[in-house]
């Protein structure tokens, strides 16, 4: 490891969001002329760490030092002025402005007090040439670029700020393999220039090839930092796991042979779904795992008819189906229900009452002709609230007055009112308390017992292990592994998610020997 003094040092940094501890007393430093990987599971605190380093979030406690001097970063701009630049995942690009305008958004070259567009264009071209993107015209609008080109613009924008610490948050995940090579070369160049690059990636091959120092985070804590080669892949995976399973799960259900209810073959959509093939049995709980952004959400959206231009075959009970819209997906013969990703925007109408929210997807079932029957509605609402044990003062209160856990129960109850055959769940327990989580697990099991098929996407591996009959792992828009029975372990899920196959074999051997 380099003996140079660190450019940036974090000492005793903690960050709380309400009662959640995202970071706990973290000490961390990065040195000039290094490429430093930050590893950890979903929710290990990596993004909170880089948000604090780049001035987006302020730590609850602890100190931050840049070049040995204490610094308090109030904003991304301030962090950039001190040389700390973060490449966000296309978060900081303005779609309706041109590439050149975006690259020099907050500090354009000027002439007589006005933006010097010619100079700006030339400078943008030079930066783009440095990352071998001569094909991008600086006058083009960002919204007209493909996702991977946008990401390269984001990188050019960061370079334009002349960083001393460059943070790349999965910056390569959206790029073509050729661009990835360019970025590797660029990072090597920057290393020689004494820049400290922090590299967050879930691809172990990439980390192996590029980084000289690795840090592992787990549960908001900095576990260990070591030089490349000091630890094997298996050891790294073990460092990343080792988490106490704090939620109680219902008893495991026996593994039985089930008739196929939903069969998906070679489903493709844009760059996100690259040919998904999957079978879901009747009454089965199938977990969908993997790292964030491997196409899991898109798979659920495609099944629910949200996406246009989906290719591939979807069969239900052996009959080919097309879902044109959520309205058609929720009705017979498909009878899907989707508990969406963001309950506040996609799941609930926050200002409307609990009762309205509960019935909004199944109004036809409580109507007489064109009119909603108030007696039927009252009965249905009472039944829904009782079934999910939603704690409400009155069903007439706005749903925004409920706690997060109870809001999520309303979303689930709303979809159960439609009497679905296949229930799609997108991370249904995210951000809710342990007690409610347990109730939701129990409910999922009850649904399966009633013969409904459940597809559960979760970012929490423990949940996949505890709650599902079978787990399918997605990697880069495809199913990379399907695990069932005793195969379902945290190590197996994580190595499939990271797409490193042999760890699984080693782990098995180890348990076998023990």
């Amino acid at each position: 490891m380099s003996k140079l003094a660190p450019i940036m040092r974090l000492s005793g940094i903690s960050k709380n969001f309400g009662a959640t501890h995202a970071l706990k007393d973290v000490d961390f430093s990065c040195r000039p002329g290094s490429i430093h990987a930050i590893l950890g599971e979903n929710g290990a605190g990596k993004s909170t760490l880089i948000k604090i380093m780049s001035g987006v979030l302020k730590p609850t406690s602890g100190n931050l030092y840049i070049d040995g001097r204490e610094a308090s970063l109030q904003s991304p701009t301030q962090a950039a002025s001190k040389g700390v630049v973060c490449i966000f995942q296309e978060l900081s690009l303005v779609p309706d402005l041109s590439v050149a305008e975006n690259i020099f958004l907050d500090s354009p070259p000027k002439k007589w007090g006005m933006i010097d567009r010619k100079k700006q264009r030339v400078a943008a071209q030079a930066l783009l040439a440095r990352i071998k993107c001569e094909d991008i015209d600086p006058s083009e609008l960002v919204k007209d670029l493909s996702l991977s080109r946008r990401q390269m613009v984001e990188i050019a924008k960061a370079l334009g700020k002349k960083p001393k610490v460059l943070i790349l948050d999965e910056a390569t995940s959206a790029l073509s393999s050729q661009d990835v090579e360019t970025i590797y070369d660029l990072l090597e160049d920057l290393k020689c220039e004494g820049v400290s690059s922090l590299f967050i990636s879930h691809k172990m091959q990439e980390v192996d090839r590029l980084c000289d120092t690795l840090s592992v985070f787990r549960n908001g804590q900095h576990i260990e930092t070591f030089a490349k080669g000091e630890r094997s892949d298996e050891e790294i995976v073990k460092l990343m796991i080792g988490r106490s399973v704090d939620a109680q799960y219902p008893d495991k259900r026996p593994l039985i042979k089930r008739e196929t209810q939903l069969s998906i073959s070679d489903l493709k959509w844009g760059g996100e779904l690259q040919g998904v093939t999957l079978k879901l049995g009747k009454g089965e709980i199938l977990g969908l795992g993997g790292l964030d952004g491997q196409g899991q959400k898109e798979l659920l959206l495609a099944l629910f008819g949200v996406l246009r231009g989906v290719e591939g075959k979807v069969e239900i009970d052996g009959r080919a189906m097309t879902m044109r819209s959520p309205a058609s997906a929720k009705t017979s013969p498909t009878n899907f229900a989707l508990v969406p990703e963001d309950r506040k925007t996609e799941g609930l109408m926050l200002e409307m009452s609990i009762a309205d929210n509960l019935m909004i997807a199944s109004l036809a079932s409580i109507s007489n002709g064109p009119f909603v029957s108030s007696t039927k509605e009252r009965d249905a609402v009472a039944k829904g609230i009782k079934k999910l044990q939603i704690k409400v003062g009155s069903a007439k209160h706005p749903v925004s007055t409920l706690s997060g856990g109870n809001q999520q129960k309303v979303v689930i109850a709303k979809w159960l009112q439609t009497n679905p055959n296949i229930v799609l769940l997108n991370d249904p327990t995210r951000g809710i308390d342990v007690g409610t989580k347990q109730e939701i697990y129990k409910l999922i099991h009850e649904l399966a017992e009633q013969g409904k098929s459940v597809l559960l996407y979760s970012t929490d591996y423990a949940e996949l292990i505890g709650c599902c009959d079978r787990v399918a792992i997605m990697y880069e828009g495809k199913i990379s592994a399907e695990l069932e029975g005793d195969e379902v372990s945290e190590a197996a899920i994580l190595s499939a998610a990271l797409n490193i196959g042999d760890v699984l074999e080693d782990e098995k051997r180890e348990t076998f020997n023990a």
Partner: protein
């Protein structure tokens, strides 16, 4: 010049709404002049531009809040207020006239700043904030001029509503019959005012960081924030500039009619027409796309439609109906692009 050609193509494709509006305007204008008995004459051009100045300025004023992603319902009212202020102050000695004009413009600018302050620091949505301040502006206008009237300097009115020849002749700056002046002496003063003020202020503004921030806010306020742009300053500047442009419209109306009139329904119809002109000129109501020059074109297009009613002797009662249909068709064309969105969830964000 393949490079230049490529850039031109890019520029057109990025401003497709504006390009279409400009082409339609030119075609309709040529046709209008062919149909008009005195077509292509300076007199017709003077008359047409005279009747367009106020709505052009109000449409440009409306553009700025729209680019932010909001609406300014007070532009018509601020124009009316400036109109009434001018009807009182723009008369007397040349010095008094100039001072009066400056106070008029300052009144509108200050009102725009007030709008900005309410929106930025009051954290109130522009549409409702300006609905309220617009009412206040009309109230002030009624207070200044309970009955229509006023005596705006007549020479000024004559000079600014004719061609350059009359302007020079009125004030005797030089010999209006001079040979070198003849090629341009036919040019209408109102058109010159529109072009100088709109281009002279808008183009530099667009090229400042503040101006660019206005676009960035309308396009993605969170990205603008994450990039450390001066968001509050840009919003204040946008509303202030909107007030200034609205005041330009009011001042010209006073000079043109030699009077002021606190007409509530006129203020309302100017506001609504300004929104129509902004949309016709290719500016997106969601913000971030478009510009004041587009609104200029949109406003001229709207006026030109009205002129057609005169020469074709169509029943003027049909005018609102036809204008409505034109607007609807134009907006529908703009909505075609939503058909290309592949993730339909994105349509709502």
């Amino acid at each position: 010049m393949p490079e230049l050609k490529k850039n031109m193509r890019l520029l057109i494709s990025q401003n497709i709404g504006f390009t279409a509006a400009t082409i339609i305007l030119v075609v309709l204008w040529l046709l209008y002049n062919f149909l008009h008995p005195r077509g292509f004459s300076s007199a017709v051009l003077i008359q047409n531009t005279n009747e367009s100045v106020a709505i052009v300025f109000v449409a440009i004023a409306q553009t700025l809040p729209v680019l932010l992603g909001g609406l300014d319902l007070s532009v018509g009212a601020v124009m009316t207020l400036a109109n009434c202020v001018a009807s009182v102050l723009v008369s007397g000695t040349p010095f008094q006239i100039i001072l009066g004009m400056m106070i008029t413009l300052l009144t509108g600018t200050a009102f725009g700043l007030l709008n900005g302050l309410v929106v930025v620091y009051g954290r109130i949505q522009p549409i409702i904030a300006t609905l309220a301040t617009g009412s206040i502006a009309i109230g002030l206008a009624l207070f200044i001029r309970p009955q229509p009237g006023g005596d705006v300097d007549g020479d000024l009115g004559w000079a600014l509503t004719n061609d350059l020849y009359e302007l020079v002749a009125t004030y005797g700056w030089w010999d209006a019959d001079a040979g070198w002046f003849a090629p341009i002496s036919w040019f209408p003063v109102p058109l010159l005012i529109i072009l100088v003020i709109s281009f002279g202020i808008w183009i530099p503004f667009k090229r400042t960081i503040t101006g660019r921030t206005v676009y960035a806010i309308g396009s993605s306020e969170s990205a603008a924030f994450m990039s450390g742009l001066p968001i509050d300053r840009a919003k204040l500047a946008a509303f202030t500039l909107a007030g200034f442009f609205a005041a330009c419209g009011g001042l010209y109306l006073a000079i043109q009619t030699s009077s002021g009139n606190a007409d509530i329904s006129q203020a309302g119809s100017y506001t609504l027409n300004s929104i129509a002109a902004v949309v016709l000129g290719g500016t997106s109501l969601l913000g971030g796309i478009g510009g004041a020059i587009g609104s200029l074109v949109g406003a001229l297009l709207l006026r030109l439609l009205a002129f057609y009613f005169r020469i074709l002797s169509i029943d003027p009662l049909l005018q609102p109906l036809i204008e409505g249909v034109v607007l609807l068709v134009a907006v529908s064309l703009g909505a075609l692009r939503t058909l290309q969105t592949k993730n339909r969830l994105r349509l709502f964000r």
